[in-house]
């Protein structure tokens, strides 16, 4: 069917697309035999990535990261809370990941994507276990007041999500705490 795409450029294009959807396994296998990926990258090369800080002025810190076509935006807003009694000299970070309906044809308004809470949990585990944020720095007055950082990540396009770790570092470094 689509195995010989030698006839004419446009016709070849359409057959490739149909072939990709109908026989995805064979499509990718044929590329991997040449050690190349569908977008002509060799196996060891990553996509172009860009990071921009301070994308959103209304947030206290923000960052926008693009890897290939995947775009993610993270922003931090600081609020004051009373620290818990178990850790009176620590602030806290609340991490949330949203996939708004703009990012994918499968997400509908009012029905959040199923992967969103999973990724949010992955992120919060990664941040707390890596120790990249010293929660003691977020404390204002021991036992009385501490900063609560609301870190909200928004997926602007649909593809996968490993890129978030990178932008989180950037968003946190962009933030200024008095």
């Amino acid at each position: 069917m689509g195995s010989s795409s030698a006839s004419g450029d446009l016709e070849g294009e359409m057959e490739v697309d149909a072939f990709r959807r109908l026989f995805p396994l064979r499509f990718h296998e044929r590329h991997l035999l040449e050690s190349i990926r569908p977008d002509a990258r060799p196996l060891g090369r990553a996509r172009e990535s860009t990071v921009a800080l301070g994308a959103v002025a209304s947030a206290d810190g923000s960052a926008l990261a693009k890897i290939g076509h995947t775009t993610m935006l993270a922003a931090i807003k600081m609020e004051i809370m009373t620290p818990s009694s178990e850790s009176p000299d620590e602030g806290s970070v609340a991490i949330d990941f949203h996939m708004p309906p703009i990012c994918s044809p499968f997400v509908r308004p009012g029905r959040p994507a199923e992967v969103a809470p999973v990724i949010a949990k992955q992120l919060s585990d990664a941040i707390s276990s890596s120790g990249m944020i010293n929660l003691k720095e977020l404390s204002l007055t021991t036992g009385k007041a501490a900063w609560m950082a609301y870190l909200d990540c928004i997926a602007l396009t649909r593809h996968r999500v490993k890129e978030l770790q990178k932008i989180l570092n950037e968003a946190i470094s962009d933030m200024e705490v008095d």
């Binding site: 959103v56 002025a57 209304s58 807003k77 609020e79 708004p100 703009i102 044809p105 593809h159």
Partner: protein, 254 residues
């Protein structure tokens, strides 16, 4: 820790930057915080094709108001919907949690979805996609004032990017009445002090208005003046949107 997030501790936002401004502009001339003239709009940055998983998308930045709109469709209507020989338009406007200076959503934004719908449905030729639905989803990344007009303009740019047939681009501008002054394209600070606002969504080349929203205190001659101002700004914005689309077109032809 995760336990704390589940119980949702009550937090408040410290507001060191809020100053109580007196309403003195009735006697003294108001100077706009960003130094614009009263009849000067903010510079617009428009870009199509921001989201590649959507049929069409656009990103608009008017000063501090940043909006992304994605258009999906025409695609299958929900199974519960009855047969319709004209297409359907479904709009949704949502805000990010960090869009406003104070965290948390504003309460009047729920009606923006239906207002966007009313502004766009007059321009889209629904007969060209019967039985299917076009979904327009808008996300306001940062709310710097005059949000709905920016959303409407950005949405019509995204619809054009998606190739949905329309009678004309929909452009939208709002005007605030501050005492005796009319300021166009207000920022959030000006909107908080306004006595009234007028928003117009129109089709600039056809000189037709799809939506007009008037709130607050207005006298008839002021309304006429404000409408003239808006229509003029809308036609200029229409030119800018057209040039943005033209720049994007040759790149996609390759």
């Amino acid at each position: 820790m995760a336990g704390k997030a589940a119980t949702a501790p009550s937090t408040y936002a410290p507001s060191p930057t809020q100053k109580a401004r007196q309403r003195i502009f009735k006697d003294v001339d108001w100077v706009r915080p960003d130094g614009r003239g009263f009849q000067q709009c903010r510079p617009a940055f428009l870009k199509t094709g921001a989201v590649n998983s959507a049929s069409g998308s656009a990103y608009a930045e008017f000063g501090n108001t940043k909006v992304i709109v994605s258009v999906f469709g025409p695609r299958e209507s929900k199974k519960a919907m009855l047969y319709s020989d004209v297409g359907r338009l479904n709009c949704n406007v949502s805000y990010t949690t960090f869009a406003n200076p104070v965290r948390g959503q504003g309460s009047d934004h729920k009606e923006f979805s239906s207002m966007l719908h009313k502004a766009l449905e007059g321009a889209i030729i629904l007969e060209t996609f019967p039985k299917t639905t076009v979904d327009v989803f808008a996300l306001v990344l940062e709310s710097g004032g005059s949000d709905l007009p920016v959303v409407i303009s950005c949405a019509s740019l995204a619809l054009a990017d998606a190739g949905i047939m329309m009678y004309d681009l929909v452009t939208s501008v709002s005007v605030s009445c501050l005492g005796k002054n009319l300021v166009i394209d207000p920022i959030s600070e000006e909107e908080s002090f306004q006595d009234g606002s007028l928003m117009i969504a129109c089709l600039p080349s056809r000189n037709e208005v799809t939506q007009l929203t008037l709130t607050g205190e207005w006298s008839t001659p002021k309304i006429h003046e404000a409408v003239e101002l808006c229509l003029d700004a809308c036609s200029k914005l229409g030119e800018i949107m057209r040039s943005c689309l033209k720049e994007a077109a040759p790149m996609s032809k390759e």
